[in-house]
Symmetry: C2
DNA sequence: AAACTGAGTTCCACATCATGGAACTCTTCG
DNA sequence: CGAAGAGTTCCATGATGTGGAACTCAGTTT
């Protein structure tokens, strides 16, 4: 563990140890927790109160014992949902990268950006940029535009700040963006040609959950010189099929 | 929230806010986190390092961005597993309480004690003690003895400290306890008559997972004067059936 | 290829906050 | 009814957490 030698914050360390104690014991009282941590019970009480304020710990009644709280499930849920999606989709993202030879990405919306969760490089992609973990502007990417396309007008207003220009081809007009999102809804996929970077083309399709809601998107991207109009004609159906297959695995039915 | 007015620990509060930020954004850098918390980036770095030491946060590479870590899943897992079990079993514990009229409990082993997860009182049980959340000695309860009965000799040695006497009927000899655990394995259930408290009788049966491992137990308990030998003859099969049904729901096959 | 920029990381003097101790409240038990 | 023990509150003190300066490193620009 590379950073275990870095200085830690003692009170944070103690609070997290309380969580570990409660995971192990199920429930514990303040005095018991104080004994486990070898601190005074007023110290233990304050640490537990802080955890309780964040819902990571709950108390049975007003003066009872403590146990782990639902706030932990909420935090863990954010992680599990993303990990599950990545794992569930992996065979398909791999196959799509193999079939197209290009870079395949999986993204979700995180507030005002597209969050890249996974990336598989195809055989033609040599030194491709690693997008995983990065927040990329929604309006300038095929993934982002797919994710935006299913938002209500209110949600769309929230999700968009000012539309920054990255290339001459970047959409910076909200009216123009709305029009394009409508087109994406109709055709079922989105394109971004030289919009984030000159020379970069991507196609993305929506991934749906059991209810039909768009929860993620999958894209195929590569240099514009390679992803010509003819080449896109072949890649677009492959991307749509991959997105459909992932959606199917998540419980979505083909016909709505 | 009853204790939100209690003093909290600022640095713990900040660390937990980092977890919430990462749940929301997916990933974030130190400088970004510092901006969100309105602290210096060296402060943010130290807080993140502490979270990382406990595996609640992970870093992409040596100098990359941070995201929530698997340590969170481990903590949440302890909570979810217990909640899932309680919810899955609830219709059956309710039915058993209704059928027998007595108090029904669900327990798991937490280190050296039986941790009571759920309790449903029957019609005959008026002012019964609420066991939920409590750690009760394993050797002196029917639930505890069931949980002990499936341990290996090494695990048994670890799980037992000294066997405290609570009543004249409490088993305090390890040799005698081992003998009784063998009998429990044979007959498939355990009895505790006046062992924890004079006048308290309980029968417990094992709950198994898909692999057949004992992961919990269910008990019927009531006053000794009501749970006579004749009455137990009726209650024991009901308790066994309930345990079997819960096990079945968890994926266990009747015939191994 | 070199310089610049910005993010992550380390170290340290100082001030703020976390601590333990005393005391209080409340529940359970004898 | 009193004792015991757990949870909770308040406060003076000092230990720890902080911000600032400086460093390292990777990516970008010239």
């Amino acid at each position: 563990m590379s950073n275990s030698e870095a200085a830690t914050v003692q009170s944070v360390d103690r609070a997290l140890t309380i969580l570990e104690v409660l995971a192990r014991l199920g429930t514990a009282g303040v005095t018991e927790i104080a004994a486990e941590l070898e601190v005074h019970k007023s110290t233990a009480f304050r640490l537990v109160s802080t955890l309780e304020a964040h819902r990571l710990v709950e108390q049975a009644g007003d003066r009872g014992r403590y146990s782990l709280g639902v706030g932990l499930l909420r935090l863990a849920g954010a992680t599990t949902a993303r990990l599950d999606l990545v794992q569930e989709a992996r065979p398909i993202t791999r196959q799509l990268a193999a079939d197209t030879g290009e870079t395949v990405n999986l993204t979700v919306r995180a507030e005002h950006a597209a969050l890249y969760l996974d990336q598989v490089a195809g055989s033609s992609a040599l030194q491709s940029h690693n997008w995983v973990g990065q927040h990329i502007p929604l309006h300038a990417t095929s993934n982002g535009k797919v994710l935006l396309s299913e938002l209500t007008p209110e949600q769309l207003a929230d999700a968009l700040g000012s539309l920054a220009r990255f290339t001459p081809a970047t959409i910076t007009s909200k009216a123009q963006l709305r029009k394009e999102l409508e087109q994406i809804r109709e055709q079922g996929y989105s394109l971004a040609i030289d919009e984030l970077e000159v020379g970069l083309t991507a196609v993305a399709a929506p991934i749906r959950n059991a209810h039909g809601d768009v929860i993620a998107s999958i894209s195929v991207s590569g240099p514009t010189f390679r992803l010509s109009a003819e080449r896109l004609d072949a890649v677009i159906p492959q991307c749509l099929a991959a997105a459909g297959e992932i959606s199917h695995r998540l419980g979505w039915s083909w016909r709505e």
